[in-house]
C-alpha cells in the first residue's frame, strides 16, 4: 500500500447487538477520491464518526499522517489536518456566511484566545475566508445570515469552511445531498479538481457523482466492507450487485 495518508485498521464498533462497524480497514491515498457507499443503515455515519473522533471505536485504530490518532479527540484531529463536512449541516446559524468562513480560517490559524482586535477586520482571515467562498460560489451571499440560506447553499458553505482549514485530508459526509442536479454537477466538477489539493474520503448517495469522481470505491454493508476497487471493478462485483445495486435494480 503506497502513501496512505489516512487509514483505518480493523475498526469495530457495536451498539448492543448491532455491529455498526465490523473490522473495517480502508485507506485514503494522496491525490485520490475514495468514495464510501452503502445502503442506509450500513454504518457509514458510525465509521465517519470514528474517523473524525466523535466516537471511540471498540477496537482497531485510525492512522492519520503516520500517527495513531485513535485516542485523540475531534479537536486534536482537526488541528492535525482532518477537514470534515457534516451530513446535517453544522454551522453557526446566527452568523453570516462570511463569519462562518472566518471561523474556519481562525480555527486553521489557531490563537483563538485573543480578546482584542476585530476578527472581521483581520486581513489574513478575511482573505482565506473570501477565497473559500469564492471557490464554492457563495461570495455574493457573504453577508447573508446562515439560517436564511437554502439547504443546498448550506452544503456549499460546509465545503467552504472545510477549505479554510487547508486540511491534509477532506472527510465529506454527503456533500451533494439536497443540491439539485445543477448544484450537484457544479460541486462534482469542483471536487474533481480538489483531489489534487488534498485527497477526499467521500460518503455520498449520489451515484452519478460517485462513479464520475471516485478513483476507488468501498462498499459498506452491515458494517463490513464487502468490496473495494475502481468504479468498473465495483460495477462488475457480483457481491456488490447482489447486496446493494441489486436492491436498487429491483426498486
Amino acid at each position: 500500500m503506497t502513501d496512505a495518508i489516512l487509514s483505518t485498521r480493523s475498526l469495530s464498533k457495536s451498539f448492543g447487538a448491532l455491529q455498526a462497524s465490523d473490522s473495517v480497514s480502508l485507506d485514503l491515498r494522496a491525490g485520490e477520491i475514495h468514495a464510501l457507499i452503502g445502503p442506509n443503515g450500513a454504518g457509514k455515519s458510525t465509521l465517519i464518526a470514528q474517523i473524525s473522533g466523535a466516537l471511540r471505536p471498540d477496537s482497531g485504530s485510525v492512522i492519520f499522517d503516520g500517527q495513531d490518532v485513535t485516542p485523540l479527540p475531534t479537536v486534536a484531529r482537526a488541528r492535525l489536518g482532518l477537514g470534515r463536512t457534516f451530513q446535517i449541516s453544522a454551522l453557526a446559524m446566527e452568523f453570516t456566511v462570511l463569519q462562518n468562513a472566518v471561523l474556519g480560517a481562525l480555527g486553521q490559524r489557531g490563537r483563538a484566545f485573543r480578546v482584542l482586535g476585530k476578527v472581521m477586520r483581520d486581513k489574513a482571515l478575511l482573505e482565506s475566508a473570501e477565497s473559500a467562498l469564492q471557490e464554492v460560489g457563495l461570495s455574493e451571499f457573504r453577508n447573508t445570515v446562515t439560517a436564511e440560506l437554502s439547504h443546498g447553499q448550506r452544503r456549499q458553505l460546509e465545503v467552504a469552511v472545510a477549505l479554510t482549514l487547508k486540511p491534509k485530508v477532506f472527510l465529506m459526509d454527503e456533500p451533494m445531498a439536497g443540491l439539485g442536479a445543477e448544484g450537484s454537477q457544479r460541486l462534482t466538477g469542483f471536487l474533481d479538481g480538489l483531489r489534487h489539493r488534498a485527497p477526499i474520503l467521500l460518503v455520498e448517495h449520489d451515484m452519478d457523482a460517485v462513479f464520475a469522481l471516485a478513483d476507488r470505491i468501498s462498499v459498506l454493508v452491515y458494517g463490513r466492507i464487502i468490496a473495494t476497487g475502481t468504479a468498473d471493478e465495483i460495477r462488475a462485483n457480483a457481491e456488490v450487485r447482489q447486496a446493494y445495486l441489486g436492491e436498487e435494480d429491483a426498486a
Binding site: V75, A90, L106, Q108, R114, V115, R121, N143, V161
Partner: protein, 324 residues
C-alpha cells in the same frame, strides 16, 4: 450610525445624565440609586459574557459577586482593625488594590467552579452552578471570622487616589467610569477572535470542534472573564453599602443579576445597563406602590420571557444582529 450603536452609547449616557441631573437637583438618594444601577449593570455585563456570548446559563454568579464583596470586606476589615491578615498582610482601603484582589479572587473561583461545571452542559450546568453558589453561601454563614450570617460592616468608604469617595457624586462617577471601561472591553471582546469562537460554541459545538477549536477551553475562559467582572462589581457593591454579608452570595442575587440581563436584552452590549436601570426604577416605583413589589416584578419578568424575548433593547433595536 446603526440603532444598536446609538443604544450602546445612549443607554449608558442616560445613566450618566441621571446621575448628573440628580446632583444638580441635589437629590442624593437618586445618585445612590444611579450608583446601584451602574454596579448591578457591571455585574450584568459580566454575566452576559458567559450567558449572552457563550450561552452558558449560570445560576451561580452571586458566588463571584459575593467573593468580590468579601474581598473588599476582608481587606477593609483588616485595615480598620489594624490586624494583619494571617499575621502578615495588612488590610487596605485603597480601591484600586481592592479591585485587583476582587478580580483575581473571583476569577480564580470561576476557574475552579467553571472547570468542574463545564464538564457538563444543559440543565446539569444550571443546577451545578446554582449548587456551587449555594455552597459558598453556606460557607460564608458558617465561617465566623468575618461575621458569619451577620456579615462585616465597614465604617469608612474606601479611598480612591485624588477623590473624596464619600461625596456621592464622586463614587457614582467612579462606578460609572469602571462600567464604561468594562463596556468598551466587552464590546471589543464580542468582536474579537475569541468572541467569534465563543459565540460559535453557543450555536454549534460540533462546528467549533471540527475547525479545531476546543469548546471547553473557550467556555472556561469566558466563564473566568465573566466571573472576574462580576466580582469587580461585587467589590463596588460592598463599598456602596459599606457592608458585605452572605446575602450577596445568595441564589436570589444570582437570579436578580440574570433577570436584569434578560430585562435589558440578552447578548446586547447595553442590555444589562438598560436592565439594571429598569430594575432599579421598578424597585423604586413598585416598592412605593406596594410592599409586595416582587409580585409585579415576577409578573413583568414572566411577560418578558413569554412574549418579548429580545428584552427592552430588543424591543427598541429590533431583531437585527450585529454583523461586524
Amino acid at each position: 450610525m446603526r440603532r444598536e450603536t446609538i443604544l450602546n452609547v445612549g443607554i449608558p449616557g442616560l445613566l450618566l445624565a441621571i446621575g448628573l441631573l440628580a446632583y444638580a437637583l441635589d437629590e442624593t438618594y437618586i445618585i445612590t440609586l444611579a450608583t446601584r444601577a451602574a454596579i448591578l449593570a457591571l455585574a450584568g455585563v459580566g454575566l452576559n459574557i458567559a450567558l449572552g456570548l457563550g450561552g452558558l446559563v449560570s445560576l451561580g454568579h452571586a458566588a463571584f459577586f459575593g467573593i468580590g464583596g468579601y474581598a473588599m470586606g476582608i481587606l477593609a476589615f483588616h485595615a480598620q482593625t489594624y490586624m494583619p491578615l494571617w499575621g502578615v498582610i495588612g488590610g487596605t482601603t485603597s480601591m484600586p488594590i481592592i479591585w485587583l484582589v476582587a478580580v483575581i479572587a473571583s476569577g480564580l473561583a470561576a476557574l475552579v467552579i467553571g472547570a468542574l461545571s463545564l464538564r457538563t452542559s444543559g440543565v446539569y450546568f444550571i443546577m451545578i452552578t446554582l449548587a456551587f453558589g449555594q455552597m459558598l453561601f453556606y460557607f460564608a454563614i458558617s465561617w465566623p471570622a468575618y461575621g458569619g450570617e451577620d456579615g462585616v460592616s465597614i465604617y469608612m468608604r474606601n479611598n480612591f487616589p485624588g477623590l473624596n469617595t464619600l461625596v456621592p457624586l464622586n463614587f457614582f462617577l467612579i462606578c460609572f467610569a469602571v462600567l464604561a471601561v468594562v463596556l468598551i472591553f466587552a464590546g471589543r471582546l464580542g468582536k474579537s477572535p475569541f468572541g467569534l469562537a465563543l459565540q460559535a460554541t453557543r450555536q454549534n459545538v460540533a462546528r467549533v470542534e471540527a475547525v479545531g477549536l476546543a469548546p471547553y477551553k473557550l467556555r472556561l475562559m469566558a466563564f473566568v472573564l465573566s466571573g472576574a467582572i462580576t466580582g469587580l462589581a461585587g467589590a463596588l457593591f460592598a463599598d456602596l453599602n459599606r457592608f458585605v454579608s452572605p446575602s450577596m452570595l445568595s441564589w436570589q442575587m444570582s437570579g436578580e443579576i440574570m433577570v436584569l440581563v434578560i430585562l435589558g436584552g440578552i447578548a446586547r452590549l447595553s442590555g444589562p445597563v438598560a436592565g439594571a436601570m429598569v430594575f432599579i426604577a421598578l424597585e423604586y416605583v413598585l416598592e412605593d406602590l406596594s410592599h409586595y413589589w416582587h409580585i409585579y416584578l415576577g409578573a413583568i419578568l414572566l411577560l418578558v420571557v413569554l412574549f418579548a424575548r429580545g428584552g427592552l433593547v430588543g424591543l427598541i433595536a429590533g431583531r437585527e444582529v450585529a454583523h461586524d
